[in-house]
């Protein structure tokens, strides 16, 4: 007979922190600068500490420490009173010291939680939200890069010593969708806070998944397998799904699951057992004598907390409640902190119509920015799964329009100075020329007339026409709609520039006087 199984998943997420130099060594690391680290010649980001030359001593990078603490504060983790570093001993040629500086018993952050959003029933409906607990996060060093060529392997130490934050979750995830949602949520948090860029294609975010299965309703944790180096969103999703099914097959065939490390082969779409490494897992951790422990004071925590952005999902709920923005609009704004700040600056300049401001940003501004980017330097297009990143990749840094100017256009539209249709054209011109909305409207003579004196004059002329007699009589006898037969000729006589609201107001007053 067949049971209903559920997956029990915990992730270990490695994130390269956004610092300029390495975590324990002064060597440059070129993170997120103008230079793509991949394009750098091998072994040109090295120094005696990175290479573990005799006598070289590590010193902790203050920025790497602070970014780690900022992460902890962002997810509500505890920052323990003392944190220190251990040596994780193993032989592998990508690690020049034969040990990795890592943290075992006193990590930099403990606990915390991350809110995730599962895919909704459709793109424009918010999905279910869940909270995933974190176990801890520890700050360690990245290893070098191996490439295989003929009989030997080649080692490039450029990446060795890069600051790596390993975020370890509790086994709270129940499906591959939840695992993917967690990765997206963590990426959104880290990008918003400027802690990391989390581009999986560049290896800035990597993931190991621990997977076990149990029958629905059970609370036990069964033997798990660990899948290493899942380096894309689709890799994480497919490997977990494959492993879930594989474990069910094994259990149903009466076999037991062995605790082991498995590799994911993206080409065959299968996981495979890595050579038994029970020995290699005996890492013989001990405290590193070269690095002193750190204490992060309450004052430092408060200073760092003040640099954190509002958490994206909190911001999303606030936008939906405070500004009555629809979910679809908020889900475009919220992953991009700069876009949110731009939106808020525009709303501050024109508080009366946040929805109008948001629509203009999400529909028109992003369209123009994307078009401008495409016509600029040739960019590699991302795979489909990274479509969201493509939007994020459009940078507001290149935006020629200030938020206040964009707000000015919405204001002119709201005041009826120009129509919504005209606003679209004015926006394109603003974006291209950098001129203000008012300047363009004036230069093109688009300004609707709100001068009630002038409008009153036109209305009096129209009311005096013989063709107006019938609608006037109908309106006076209670036919409300008859007023439209009078507005048409008024708008025509004003060459379309009369403000419709002013026309309505004045027309009713004059009809009342008749």
């Amino acid at each position: 007979m067949s049971f209903e199984y559920e997956a029990v998943i915990g992730l270990e997420i490695h994130v390269q922190l956004k610092t300029r130099s390495k975590v324990f060594a002064p060597s440059s690391y070129l993170y997120g600068g103008d230079v793509d680290p991949k394009s750098v010649e091998p072994n040109t980001l090295i120094d005696p500490v990175v290479l573990a030359l005799p006598g070289a001593l590590p010193v902790l990078n203050k920025a790497a420490l602070e970014q780690s603490v900022r992460f902890g504060l962002l997810v509500g983790a505890t920052i323990p009173p003392v944190s220190n570093w251990d040596r994780k001993n193993y032989f592998y040629p990508d690690s020049p010291k034969n040990y990795q500086l890592s943290q075992k018993d006193f990590p930099i952050t403990i606990g915390g939680e991350v809110e995730i959003e599962l895919p909704g029933p459709s793109r424009n409906i918010m999905g279910e939200h869940k909270v995933i607990r974190l176990n801890h996060a520890h700050l360690e060093e990245d290893v070098g890069k191996l490439s295989h060529a003929g009989a030997g392997s080649l080692v490039d130490y450029n990446r060795a010593g890069a600051p790596l934050l390993e975020i370890v979750t509790e086994p709270d995830l129940r499906s591959s969708e939840e695992a993917v949602a967690l990765l997206n949520a963590i990426r959104m948090l880290l990008v918003a806070a400027g802690i990391a860029d989390c581009d999986m294609e560049k290896g800035q975010m990597r993931c190991d998944a621990n997977v076990s299965i149990r029958q629905h309703g059970e609370t036990v944790l069964n033997t798990r397998t660990e899948m290493k180096n899942l380096n894309s969103i689709s890799g994480v999703k497919n490997a977990i799904e494959y492993e879930f099914k594989r474990q069910i097959r094994e259990v149903e065939a009466g076999k037991t699951i062995r605790q082991e490390t498995r590799g994911w082969n993206a080409e065959t779409g299968r996981t495979y057992s890595l050579r038994s490494k029970e020995d290699a897992h005996d890492y013989r951790y001990f405290p590193d004598p070269d690095l002193m422990p750190v204490q992060v004071s309450e004052a430092d925590q408060a200073r760092l907390a003040a640099t954190l952005p509002e958490r994206p999902y909190l911001r999303q709920r606030r936008y939906m409640e405070e500004f009555a923005l629809p979910y679809t609009i908020t889900s475009v704004l919220v992953p991009d902190r700069l876009l949110c700040e731009y939106f808020e600056a525009a709303v501050a300049a024109h508080p009366a119509n946040p929805q109008g401001v948001a629509n203009l940003i999400v529909n028109d501004l992003l369209r123009e920015l994307t078009a401008a980017k495409k016509s600029g330097a040739e960019e590699n297009s991302f795979a489909e799964e990274n479509a969201a990143e493509e939007v994020a990749a459009v940078s507001l840094a290149d935006c020629p329009l200030k938020a206040e100017e964009l707000a000015g256009l919405v204001k002119l539209t709201d005041e009826g100075v120009i129509s919504k249709q005209q606003a679209k054209d004015v926006f394109v011109e603003m974006f291209q020329t950098g001129k203000s909305a008012a300047a363009i409207v004036d230069a093109k003579g688009l300004r609707q007339s709100s001068d009630s004196g002038e409008i009153e004059k036109i209305i009096r002329e129209v009311l005096a026409l013989p063709s107006s007699e019938k609608p006037i009589a109908e309106f006076k006898s209670g036919n409300e709609k008859a007023i439209n037969s009078l507005k048409g000729p008024v708008m025509k006589a004003s060459k379309g520039k009369a403000n419709p609201q002013v026309v309505d107001q004045v027309l009713r007053r004059l009809l009342g006087e008749l």
Partner: protein, 91 residues
């Protein structure tokens, strides 16, 4: 002894195993002696001095010349260090 030697990538002769086994045994006995000390109320410490927060500003320094690295490597190619081929089972 075999396990430790394997972890440390050291090949030991039978004679060496016997000698180091004895020496390690002495060290382990010494730790057993330490274990008998009552440390209730003493905070665990990894260092002899209460020094904290030895930090470096995030300012990149110059890189070593790659030639220096390649000179001290047993073998080099394409500006990289050559090591015996390492692959996992399905790689």
């Amino acid at each position: 002894m075999d396990h430790l030697a394997k972890l440390a990538r050291i090949a030991l002769t039978a004679e060496e195993k016997a000698r180091f086994g004895g020496e390690l045994g002495t060290i382990l006995n010494y730790f057993d002696q330490l274990k008998t000390v009552n440390v209730d109320g003493v905070e665990p410490s990894a260092h002899a001095f209460p020094v904290y927060n030895v930090l470096r500003e995030d300012v990149p320094g110059p890189s070593l010349d790659v030639e220096m690295l390649l000179r001290i490597a047993p073998q080099a190619r394409d500006r990289q260090v050559v090591v015996p081929r390492v692959v996992d089972d399905e790689g």
